[in-house]
């Protein structure tokens, strides 16, 4: 026993001595990439490393066709792989692996003219074989991530080494939805069956992207180095490392100390970070929004309170909510107003009602609406009833870790206009169960979405009848909306399509199956004494960490 103690003490002593003597990690020399291509050695020049601190669940798979989490996109795939078409700083289409593209008269054939001279990280040439393979394998093997994006293509043809043709049966306007990561056919091609592909973990991802994978240590960090051969120019920085943090306090401390260069900041830390002179903050509207959803399922199997299907009640609720209170108190100021289904960051697709039609906080209007609709408080208990005596008494299920404070504000707001809300707190898994359990035993809930920047189809589809039981969590069904959804999917003229998409959002705004509560504002923070040339995306207000920043950010 004593020997063990002695050993422990010696180890500790050694640790303390070692720690005090080496306060900085030893200078790093660039090494050969495990994937083969050797970088010319830059002896004598210091390696510029950009460290991004992330506080999120660690990604799942490095195989872009298997992973389903958005964090995997950020930490893994976005750095190594590319798509045919990307988005520029105004959120408009710009070519990446495809230099140009066109669509046929009948709208059924998309032709992509691929960029020449692009090389995979291992030196092989990129060409049409890779594109054809990427689309084909997702369709044939029905791989989880992209299958629904590619299933509409009935033919995927190689015209020549640098031209690919994708044919559909119906006009497909949301071509951006079908932008999948292109993978090297000479690596992925060996996996013929679904089982093989699903088992392929892709431990050394290799693409055409602006960074080359170096190493990954799960839940700790993942490291990339700049691709000298990148077709759009080599990134200024030499290395990019994503570092994982398990709690937000140490994240900020690391930023302050210089252990990381960039990170996101939460509401609780704003005041502290603002006090640091070497750190700059950037606040921006994000693509994440959160709504109060209603059970508007008309099926008799629904166990929801049928009263909630009265649109007057829902619209009255829209007027009753004190949105500013939510922004300030529940969200700590990190929220902003959003009216339509699509947030402002997606650019032209986003719609806002006329000022006269905006349902802002106005409890008097809310009360009047309820009165006019026949809901009065006849027995004086503070809760309104309809003419038959049914009380406006609803059940709201709430994911406690995300919406607790917001739900309490809403509960109070509704109480003020005579609607009683019973809140049940739970976790995400249970809420998912309740909503999708074939009986939807609740009346209201809160949830959120990330709207893709590329195309509105995904978010719009959540309100279609087709998606009930799948993407749709409010179970809304409106024939006119469904028809417009079909139509916009085929309208290739972008301006036309924008008009249809706006009309759809207007319908939703009038029917209020959702009441959008807020758009989550995000904050970036970075060390301004060390870095410059950050790019915003979208350029009017957006995230400082994006494709363009990765290309241009440079040390001071």
């Amino acid at each position: 026993m004593k020997k063990i103690l002695l050993f422990v003490f010696v180890v500790m002593l050694f640790a303390i001595v070692a720690g005090c003597t080496s306060s900085q990690p030893s200078q790093v020399k660039p090494s050969e990439t495990p994937n083969g291509s050797e970088q010319p050695s830059e002896s004598g020049k210091e390696v510029v490393t950009f460290k991004y601190g992330v506080m999120d669940s660690w990604p799942d798979s490095m195989n872009p066709y298997l992973s389903v989490l958005s964090i995997s996109q950020t930490l893994y795939h976005d750095n190594v792989y590319e798509t045919l078409i990307g988005l520029d700083q105004k959120v408009n289409m710009e070519g990446r692996l495809a230099e140009s593209w066109d669509v046929s008269e009948d709208g059924l054939t998309w032709t992509f003219h691929l960029r020449k001279g692009v090389k995979w990280h291992d030196g092989e040439d990129f060409n049409a074989d890779d594109v054809v393979f990427s689309y084909q394998v997702n369709k044939d093997l029905e791989l989880p991530r992209f299958y629904s994006s590619v299933k509409d293509f009935v033919e995927i043809n190689k015209i020549d080494d640098y031209t690919v043709e994708l044919k559909t049966e119906e006009a497909k306007a949301n071509i951006m939805d079908a932008m999948i990561d292109i993978v090297p056919e000479h690596i992925f091609g060996q996996y013929d069956t679904k089982e093989e592909m699903l088992a392929f973990t892709n431990d050394h991802p290799m693409g055409t992207g602006l960074f080359i994978f170096v190493e990954d240590s799960k839940d700790e960090y993942v490291k990339y180095k700049a691709n000298d051969q990148y077709w759009n120019g080599r990134p200024v920085i030499d290395e990019l490392i994503y570092v994982c943090f398990a709690n937000s306090d140490t994240l900020i401390q690391a930023l302050e100390k210089g252990e990381i260069d960039f990170c996101g900041v939460g509401a609780a830390q704003i005041s502290y970070v603002e006090s640091l002179s070497n750190i700059t903050l950037n606040r921006f509207d994000s693509n994440a929004f959160n709504e109060l959803g209603f059970n508007v399922w008309k099926d008799p199997a629904s166990k929801g309170n049928p009263l909630i299907r009265d649109v007057n009640i829902r619209n009255a609720i829209a007027y009753a909510i004190d949105y500013d209170a939510i922004f300030e108190y529940a969200m700590g100021g990190l929220a902003s107003k959003q009216y339509g289904l699509l947030p402002k960051v997606v650019g032209k697709w986003s719609w806002e009602p006329e000022d006269a039609n905006k349902k802002d906080y106005n409890p008097e209007t809310a009360k009047k609406m309820l009165e006019d609709a026949g809901y009065k408080d006849t027995d004086g208990d503070g809760i309104r009833e309809d003419s038959k005596g049914n009380k406006l008494d609803f059940r709201m299920i709430i994911i406690e870790s995300s919406y607790r404070d917001v739900s309490l504000v809403v509960q109070q707001n509704l109480k003020d206009i005579g609607i009683n809300i019973n809140i049940e707190f739970m976790d995400t898994g249970r809420q998912t169960d309740i909503i999708y359990s074939q009986s939807f035993d609740a009346d209201m809930y809160m949830w959120g979405w990330y709207a893709p920047y590329s195309d509105p189809t995904y978010i719009l589809s959540s309100m279609t009848t087709e998606q009930i039981g799948n993407l749709s969590d409010c179970f809304y069904s409106n024939k006119e909306y469904d028809e417009l959804f079909e139509l916009q999917g085929k309208t290739l003229d972008e301006d036309e399509r924008v008009k249809i998409v706006h009309k759809m959002q207007e319908i939703i705004y009038e029917d209020s199956p959702y009441i959008i509560l807020y758009n989550t504002k995000r904050i970036n923070a970075y060390d301004n004494t060390k870095w410059e040339n950050f790019q915003k995306w979208p350029e009017w207000e957006g995230n400082l960490f994006n494709y363009f920043t990765k290309l241009y950010v440079s040390p001071k």
Partner: protein, 323 residues
């Protein structure tokens, strides 16, 4: 010590094991929240995608079949594929366990040692100033939230003084020229977590040890030893401590056995990629394979620890040996 004694223990151990393992299986099936829906709401999940996932993780097989597979996997340590990481569970667990072990092996024996030695010192000066100081300060330190204490250490030594790094096991992305550098960096990262961890746990050992020692001090054979002319220090080391170690040995062995399960609060605080963090995260994500596997390992460790405790206790205390 007789073979009968050991076999007897083994038998009960086995029964406990089967029971726990079955419970493990059933519990996770009964928990609300379907993992596939959790995962697939993030992506436009089509029925095809869902079916793929189900097949991949074996959830489309009948329950009984799943149970048999489960039992089989327990023996081969094939825990299947993690829902979240899409990789064999063994790989994930192996990594995390290694990390937790590094932290635990440095910190836990240290905490236990401090506790035991402190308990011995405090009890030998029972009632006097030294005892009061040691006991009170241990209780206060034990009551201080680990999180807060560790944050203070980090702030002072990490941020203000810059002597230690803020997080993680090793400097992210650094290339180490040789093993020595790696070990040095690792030790550098270990200091504050180990200190926080051992400070957080030593309190209970100290108080238990002190109590056991005080009990033993009142025994007659201690008086006899003094009458024989043994110096107080000899009395303590020969007579009191060995007997006082008996009650605490069970706690110690148990603590050592579950080192590999990690300490959740310490790991989250320091972003130490260990088992504790993994286990909690996998519950949130409904990552069945990992949850099952970790539960299984904990059960094995505890049952094993129990068994070892019984045997060691029999060795330490001649009174309870059978036969």
């Amino acid at each position: 010590m007789s073979i009968r004694f050991i076999l007897n223990r083994l038998f009960y151990t086995f029964i406990m094991f089967i029971f726990v393992v079955t419970l493990n299986f059933a519990l996770f099936r009964l928990m609300p929240g379907d993992p596939l829906t959790m995962v697939s709401k993030e992506v436009a999940s089509s029925p095809e995608g869902r079916a793929t996932l189900e097949h991949l993780y074996g959830l489309d097989k009948p329950m009984f079949q799943q149970y048999i597979d489960y039992l089989k996997s327990m023996t081969t340590f094939d825990f299947g594929i993690s829902f979240h990481y899409k990789q064999p569970v063994i790989n994930i667990l192996g990594d995390k366990i290694k990390n937790s072990l590094i932290l635990g092996i440095a910190a836990v024996p240290l905490g236990i040692a401090i506790g035991i030695i402190g308990g011995i010192i405090a009890s030998s000066r029972h009632g006097k100033k030294t005892d009061v100081i040691i006991t009170t300060s241990s209780m206060i330190i034990y009551a201080i939230p680990t999180f807060w204490f560790a944050m203070i250490l980090l702030m002072i030594f990490g941020v203000k003084l810059g002597w230690v790094p803020i997080n993680s096991m090793v400097t992210p992305g650094a290339n180490f020229l040789n093993n020595m550098e790696y070990i040095k960096d690792l030790l550098h990262h270990l200091i504050v977590p180990v200190i926080s961890y051992s400070v957080a746990i030593f309190g209970s050992y100290l108080l238990i040890m002190r109590g056991a020692m005080i009990d033993v001090f009142t025994e007659d054979y201690v008086l006899t030893a003094r009458a024989k002319g043994l110096k107080e220090k000899q009395v303590i080391m020969r007579h009191v401590v060995p007997n006082a170690l008996l009650p605490i040995s069970t706690t110690v062995i148990y603590s050592l056995a579950i080192i590999f399960t990690g300490a959740f609060s310490i790991e989250v605080l320091f972003s130490w990629p260990g088992m504790g963090k993994l286990m909690v995260e996998s519950v949130n994500r409904r990552d069945y394979p990992i949850m099952q596997a970790s539960n299984y390992l904990i059960a094995v460790a505890v049952i094993l620890a129990n068994f070892i405790m019984d045997v060691v206790y029999g060795y330490l205390d001649p009174r309870i040996r059978i036969g």
